[in-house]
């Protein structure tokens, strides 16, 4: 198993295109998107109920440790302008035919 990184990005739905393009620019072409998640952040609090007008997307991308810096550099200004947040953590990858570390 290889040590790699998990990048998680939470953002407004309309930013998704910009974020995916940003990831690609940073060399991270593979990712998973969970759409239509609800959330409360600084800019819109959902109280106890869930508000469908302010929808978020949740992007998960696994990448090599050395790619993280490039991703952060590109994604941070997008999040600063339009809101959203980004987290990085450690994870071990099970080596399969198309794993991150083999590319």
């Amino acid at each position: 198993m290889n040590p790699i990184k998990r990048i998680e990005i939470f953002s407004d739905s309309f930013e998704l295109g910009k974020i995916l393009t940003g990831l690609k620019k940073a060399g991270v072409t593979n990712c998973t998107v969970i759409r239509h998640v609800s959330g409360s952040g600084v800019r819109g609090s959902m109280g106890d109920d869930i508000d469908m007008l302010l929808e978020n997307d949740y992007v998960i991308a696994f990448c090599l440790p050395e790619q993280v810096e490039a991703v952060v550099k590109i994604i941070r200004p997008i999040l600063n302008k339009f809101g959203g947040s980004c987290y990085v953590s450690d994870v071990m990858e099970v080596q399969t035919m198309n794993c991150v570390a083999s590319k």
Binding site: D12, F14, G44, D49, L53, L54, F82
Partner: protein
């Protein structure tokens, strides 16, 4: 004023189901219409109203009256954000003022649809090209809003960074405008025959879908009510008085060019209504500095219910007086 109009409007299924939704939130029932069902309904309503408008337009043709109405509609949608912006500046920063102003310059398709159902119930005719007015009033407000931000929000020398191609894209090709205009064109192209074959889908069940959708609108609007406490009395007053002002201006314009009564009501309702879908989406992208809960909550939790409950019959009453 003729209270019977308000009451007969109130006793319609769509309005009552709107209230049922509001009540559900107030009594904390767990009634919920899960995503994306409301989206299905709103796509359907846009498609159906656009298509039917197109079919009607194909029948009636494009006269001078049509063009005049559409030009006035565009004009109102560009003008309203300008004067409301300066009113809003009394309380809000330029970003929020511009975003709220754009919201009120634009329109609410559901309010329009509710008004057209109201007219049908009263058996007052209206023309299919009013749907074109509906479609044309969304975009100008977005663009004027952005111009206001660029003129007043940035200090001299500060770069505005406005990505104009993106803004125009969002203004003219956002999904509501696109589907509405596209369905209108298809209605024009297929004409009478197309109208016939789609009738069971776009006409017969239309009222039912509207009713169901307003149940959801009631839920959504009521959930927004608590936001209003934070936004303060100024914005609440604004959200009732500005529609009245816009409606009055719309009414006078309609009278001055002698619009038929049905069209006049729809025109007035377009002026009085505020967008809570297309413009907010555009504003979040283009004016991220503004607070969405200000412009969404005022349009959705105050202006929308006000218009469908009191506004529509009130404006109709005004018309019945002025058109005598």
């Amino acid at each position: 004023m003729d209270l019977s109009l308000v009451i007969s409007n109130f006793l319609n299924p769509p309005i009552l189901f709107f209230f049922l939704g509001v009540t559900s939130v107030l009594v904390k029932s767990d009634l919920e219409i899960p995503a994306p069902i409301p989206k299905l309904f709103s796509l359907y309503l846009l498609l159906a109203i656009g298509f039917k408008g197109g079919v009607e337009l194909a029948k009636s043709g494009v006269s001078q009256a049509v063009i005049l109405t559409l030009v006035l509609a565009i004009m109102m949608s560009a003008l309203v954000p300008v004067y409301t912006f300066f009113i809003l500046r009394l309380k809000f920063d330029p970003f929020n003022s511009a975003a709220i102003a754009a919201t009120y310059g634009s329109i609410s398709a559901v309010t329009f649809i509710t008004a057209s159902s109201f007219l049908s119930a009263l058996k007052i005719p209206f023309d299919g090209y009013m749907v074109a007015a509906l479609a044309l009033m969304e975009s100008p407000a977005i663009i004027v809003g952005l111009i206001l931000v660029n003129l007043f929000a940035y200090k001299k020398g500060e770069s505005s960074e406005t990505n104009w191609p993106e803004v125009l894209q969002e203004a003219f090709l956002n999904s509501s405008v696109f589907l509405l205009v596209g369905s209108l064109l298809i209605g024009i192209l297929t004409g009478e025959h197309g109208g016939q074959v789609l009738k069971p889908f776009t006409t017969d069940i239309f009222y039912g879908v509207l009713t169901f959708f307003l149940l959801d609108m009631g839920l959504v609007a009521a959930r927004r009510i608590k936001d209003l406490q934070k936004t303060g009395a100024f914005l609440i007053a604004f959200a009732i008085l500005i529609p009245l002002l816009n409606a009055a201006i719309g009414l006078l314009i309609a009278r001055s060019i002698n619009m038929p009564q049905g069209n006049a009501l729809l025109f007035t309702v377009l002026c009085a209504s505020a967008s809570y879908i297309a413009v907010p989406a555009a504003m979040r992208m283009t004016v991220p500095e503004a607070n969405p809960s200000l412009y969404i909550s005022s349009a959705l939790a105050v202006t929308f219910p006000f218009n469908i409950l009191i506004g529509i019959p009130l404006y109709q009453y005004g018309i019945s007086l002025l058109w005598r």
